[in-house]
């Protein structure tokens, strides 16, 4: 069982965390600026699935409920980075 280093709580077992989504799929658009349907659908459905470090959004759901941007190597499962996901962290 891996430990994730929650920036607010410190190292915690990964069962306290919930995977939410791929960081590539995050949209920070909050209104109707220049809506391009195809771009939107690509964001939702067509993400690249490359080998190696991968940015993911997780929530410390059974802890502080904070939101994290985790860099996880999908080849080794190693979590290389665990940062708060807040202002300006969008792709």
């Amino acid at each position: 069982m891996q430990l994730f280093n929650c920036p607010w709580c410190g190292p915690r077992a990964h069962i306290e965390f919930t995977y939410i989504r791929d960081h590539q799929s995050v949209s920070t658009r909050g209104n109707g600026d220049d809506p391009d349907v195809q771009q939107e659908l690509d964001r939702i459905y067509l993400r690249s699935n490359h080998l190696g470090p991968h940015q993911e959004i997780w929530q410390h759901s059974a802890g502080c409920r904070g939101w994290l941007r985790i860099t996880r190597n999908n080849l080794t499962h190693e979590v290389e980075d665990c940062l708060p996901c807040q202002h300006g962290d969008a792709p």
């Binding site: 069982m1 891996q2 430990l3 190292p11 919930t18 939410i20 995050v26 949209s27 920070t28 909050g30 209104n31 109707g32 809506p35 349907v37 939107e40 659908l41 939702i44 459905y45 959004i57 929530q59 759901s61 409920r65 904070g66 939101w67 499962h77 996901c85 807040q86 202002h87 962290d89 969008a90």
Partner: protein, 997 residues
């Protein structure tokens, strides 16, 4: 009862505590301190089971976790535990054990016919033979499973209970042999918190099995004294009978502890520990390898170290007349200990070409002949060993038969690198000891002692001391003065290891069975065949021959198998490599992994603040997610159907009361709360006036409906949201995500308040009258509290929020009060001052009322595949603003004419029921797969129509209004379809006059 093979003195057993036990129904006696294996051997029981594939007789082969053949079933009925290693089962009073893999019995096994036909059962036999014809495979499979059995799983629930615990420590030491004990002691002296575990009931490891003196006492006693010292230290936890079976990420080691509880029902039978350690010291010892020669599997053939363990630890003679075959010096110690325990040692066969003269001297002293450059070629005997044939290592066909009933074999020792390798580290091959030793560590771990290939006692003690200090230092504990701990004085016979690889004796006959893997019946012929057929990778060899795939995971066979493959490939062993080491080290009970999380304890249960009131009314409860919620309140003599109809009718004609405390409730505050809601819901919220509520629909990013609910505006920047009970946590996460990750610029705070509020719905034409008498004058009249109005007031003196919203289609009020006063509210509403009868109603009546009105249900109509348009809610989609899921709705597929859309259904014959989940067909008879045009999503028996009604998702939707469709429900055994008419999906008061009155 005689223990013919037990010596009168010696051993670490309690002769004053005899224990009766049964094996295959026969009563025997052993002693406290025995294993089942040692007790069987003490009673002269040599035939323990039959082998997996050929059903050959098998006996005790080892004295530890590596046991490949003495597998027994313990107990019977629901307590039965199959595939248990007799060598690790502690003898206990009235223990019952049974042989496996034999039918009808171990002495007469009819399935041993497989042995006679073994020529047609080579590796890969099942794959090749039973390929065709395919239709016979089920029959083949049944027969193969019967013949190639590995015990029988119990078919009843396990009555034992198990516990899971977490623990943390600075230093975890696995193995309490000399290295581990020294290591734990050294680490403990620094003040670090230390955990020491060992799979055996007593500490000492091989010290239990040797005849060494340490600090002037027997090795086992020294081990016991250190164990005791550690037990007494406040910073140390020791656990005996605890097997570290898995090494996981970030230094988490899983340990299974067997709890000797006797008849104490409060104790778990096993405890699973998940230990997170800063540093781990692995002192897991080494496992002896057998030698490979023909018929090396007969009961009586045993690892040399095991024969020695039975003699020294258990005072049991594993035979009367022994031959020792070895490729290293430890075999001579076995010969000495066997001779000293009263076994006639007929000869030592040493495959090496030269031997140290001190060894020869030891043998000469005891009159034991030594054959240098010789080994065992073959054995004979019936159900046990009768004689061995020996000869030169390089000549086919040994020359000499020698009578014996015990053959002690040693093919060298393999470090137990299992846990080390589970970390992802790669063991490396040492040509010095011809075995895999630990490679560079992948975690905060160090492997020491025999597990590192160090087979010298003093060396092990030294290494343990240093490793313990180092582990503590790396965990942040400074080492105290170096002299505070000294090594014990040891004396006794110790010899250098001196092994010389000898992998396979000459095969006497073309088809002679030289077993490599005794548990899986894999022979040298199988490995040669696999190699010939191209299975030259060790991973392929494993799967093709099943080498090492048994419950012992090849602890005694893998290295030998790899060595043979390397020779066939004409490559060095490291080029062949090892197979992957995976947890668990030894088999573990699934119940232990589940721990206490079984039955009703799998998930927590949630009860509403009015639970006691429902119980007092004899409610029938049903789960709703984690909640327990009343399904209905049946009266005496009433069926559930009658009850639900009565409750629903009461709401339509008078007034009913239902508990809606399970609704998800979220409080939102902040200047941007209105904007936030505008983005989250498909409809407009910033325009909602204070003191008003609105029904809202939220979508996922892909445009599908996520949830519905209401939002009430409490003030300029405060809103109160409710969502579907079952969706509450998902909706909260959806909101948190958008607020924290997507739009952190919005100034909104949200807080889940589901458990802070108790809530009821009071519904029906008489509801206002009932409520009015409990509220301040005029609070709930039609003008001051119109439909979708909200007010904070008091009800029966309790501070309350009333929202005039209806999910039944009747005039209705949702009343929210602090959780602690929920019961009080319920009582006040139910017992009215003017004797109006208020009928409590449950989830089923609620469902009838919902379906009559055609309101969508989450999970039924909104099933994650439907859009607002599909469910007739397209008009809610705001065109003036952007919202989550808006763009995705433009996908052509979501606007296709053939999409499933919401319709109503009524039966053509008024008496017919409309089955929920039934497929909708356009014709009366199903014409084959794919002819379905939809399905029934919700169904009920309407109290206003007196017939069945249903909501359905059907291709074309309202275009089919008036059509007759046919409902097929073959999965529930209905042979004929039911005719139904497509209607508008609202069966009652479609204008909504009643709820807006």
């Amino acid at each position: 009862m005689s223990q013919k093979f037990r010596n009168l003195t010696g051993g670490n057993i309690s002769r004053e505590s005899p224990l009766d036990f049964r094996f295959n129904g026969t009563l025997y006696q052993g002693y406290q301190g025995d294993t089942l294996a040692s007790a069987l051997l003490a009673n002269g029981v040599r035939l323990v089971g039959r082998s997996f594939k050929y059903h050959r007789p098998r006996g005790v082969f080892s004295a530890g976790p590596e046991e490949p053949s003495a597998l027994v079933q313990l107990g019977s009925g629901p307590l039965a535990e199959p595939n248990t290693r007799a060598t690790q089962v502690e003898l206990s009073a009235n223990l019952e054990a049974f042989s496996q893999n034999c039918w009808p019995g171990v002495n007469l096994d009819l399935l041993s016919i497989n042995n006679v036909f073994s020529a047609v059962l080579p590796a890969g036999f099942y794959y090749k033979t039973f390929m065709a014809p395919r239709r016979l495979w089920p029959w083949y499979e049944k027969m193969i499973r019967k013949a190639a059995g590995m015990g029988t799983a119990p078919d009843q629930a396990d009555p034992d209970h198990y516990l899971c615990s977490y623990a943390h420590c600075d230093v975890l030491v696995v193995g309490a042999g000399p290295s581990g004990l020294m290591s734990a002691l050294a680490a403990a002296r620094t003040g670090a918190s230390v955990m020491l575990v060992d799979e055996n009931p007593a500490a000492g490891g091989w010290l239990q099995r040797e005849r060494l003196s340490m600090d002037g006492m027997p090795g086992a006693n020294w081990a016991e004294s250190i164990w005791q010292e550690l037990t007494d230290l406040p910073n140390v936890t020791v656990r005996a009978r605890a097997t570290a079976f898995g090494y996981y990420d970030h230094n988490m080691v899983a340990i299974l502890e067997r709890v000797p509880g006797g008849n104490d029902k409060d104790l778990p039978s096993q405890r699973l520990w998940r230990v997170r350690a800063k540093r781990v010291v692995l002192a897991t010892g080494a496992i002896e390898r057998p030698l490979i020669f023909a018929n090396n599997d007969r009961p009586g053939v045993m690892l040399a170290g095991a024969a020695r363990a039975y003699a020294n630890q258990y005072a049991v003679r594993a035979g009367s007349r022994a031959v020792v075959a070895t490729n290293n010096n430890s075999g001579y110690l076995t010969a000495v200990d066997l001779a000293d325990s009263g076994i006639a040692v007929a000869a030592v066969m040493d495959s090496r070409s030269s031997v140290d003269h001190t060894l020869l001297g030891m043998m000469e002293e005891r009159g034991i002949p030594v054959d240098i450059g010789h080994t065992v070629h073959d054995t004979r005997g019936g159900k046990t060993l009768g004689a061995v044939r020996s000869g030169a290592t390089d000549v086919i066909g040994g020359s000499q038969w020698m009578d014996c009933d015990l053959l002690a074999v040693s093919g060298g020792w393999s470090p137990a690198v299992h846990l080390h390798a589970q970390t992802g580290a790669r063991p490396v091959y040492s040509t010095e000891i011809e075995a895999f030793i630990p490679g560079p560590s992948k975690q905060a771990e160090q492997t020491i002692g025999a597990a590192r290939g160090n087979y010298d006692l003093e060396g092990c003690l030294n290494e343990g001391l240093r490793a313990g200090r180092q582990a503590a230092r790396l965990a942040g504990f400074d080492t105290p003065d170096e002299d505070s701990l000294s090594l014990p004085e040891t004396n006794g016979e110790t010899l250098p290891y001196g092994q010389e690889a000898f992998w396979q004796a000459p095969r006497p006959g073309k088809r002679s069975k030289q077993f490599v893997d005794i548990q899986d019946d894999v022979t040298t012929l199988d490995i040669e065949l696999a190699h010939r057929e191209g299975y030259v990778s060790v991973e392929h060899l494993k799967r093709y021959t099943t080498l090492g795939m048994g419950t012992d995971q090849g602890k005694t066979s893998n290295i030998n198998g790899m060595a043979l493959l390397a020779r066939l490939r004409q490559e060095p062993i490291p080029h062949v490599g090892t197979t992957t080491f995976r947890p668990p080290y030894t088999p573990i009970t699934l119940g232990a992994l589940a721990g206490g999380e079984t039955g009703a304890s799998v998930k927590p249960r949630r009860y509403t603040p009015m639970h006691a009131q429902h119980q007092a009314l004899d409610a029938v409860f049903a789960p709703l997610g984690l909640w327990m919620r009343p399904q209905g309140y049946p009266r005496r003599g009433e069926t559930m159907h009658q009850c639900v109809q009565r409750e629903a009718r009461a709401v339509r004609s008078a007034v009913g009361l239902t508990d809606v405390s399970t609704l998800g409730k979220i409080s939102l505050r902040g200047p941007d709360a209105g904007e936030f809601l505008n983005r989250i819901y498909v409809n407009q919220f910033s325009s909602l006036p204070t003191g008003r509520a609105r029904y809202g629909l939220m979508l996922r990013e892909d445009g599908m409906i996520l949830d519905d609910g209401t939002v009430t505006r409490l003030s300029e920047d405060a809103y109160f949201m409710t969502c579907t009970s079952g969706n509450a946590s998902g909706v909260l996460q959806h909101l948190e995500y958008h607020l924290e990750v997507a739009w952190p610029e919005l100034e909104v705070d949200l807080c889940e308040v589901t458990e802070q509020w108790a809530a009821v719905a009071l519904a029906g034409p008489l509801s206002r009258g009932v409520l009015q008498r409990l509220c301040p004058e005029g609070t709930v009249d039609a003008v001051r509290l119109p439909a979708m109005g909200a007010v904070d007031t008091t009800v029966a003196g309790i501070p309350a929020r009333i929202i005039r919203i209806s999910f039944s289609g009747e005039l209705a009020f949702e009343i929210y009060v602090p959780s602690s006063r929920g019961g009080e509210l319920w009582d006040a509403l139910l017992v009215t001052r003017d004797n109006t009868e208020v009928t409590p109603y449950g989830m089923d009546a609620l469902e009838v009322l919902r379906i009559e009105k055609g309101f969508i249900g989450m999970g039924t109509e909104a099933d994650g595949r439907t859009t607002a348009e599909d469910l007739g809610l397209g008009r809610m989609l705001s065109k003036k603003k952007w919202f989550v899921g808006q763009l995705a709705l433009q996908r052509p597929g979501l606007n296709h004419a053939n999409r499933l859309k919401l319709v109503g259904l009524t039966p053509v014959s008024p008496g017919d029921e409309l089955p929920e989940g039934a497929q909708v067909l356009a014709q009366a008879v199903a014409t084959g797969p794919g002819c379905s045009i939809g399905h029934v999503s919700s169904a009920a028996h309407s109290v206003v129509l007196g017939t069945a009604i249903a909501l359905a998702l059907v291709k074309g939707g309202s275009l089919r209004s008036g059509d007759t469709v046919y409902l097929a429900d073959p999965a529930r055994g209905a042979n004929e379809t039911i005719a139904a008419r497509v209607t508008y999906p609202c069966f009652y008061d479609p204008e909504g006059a009643r709820q807006h009155d």
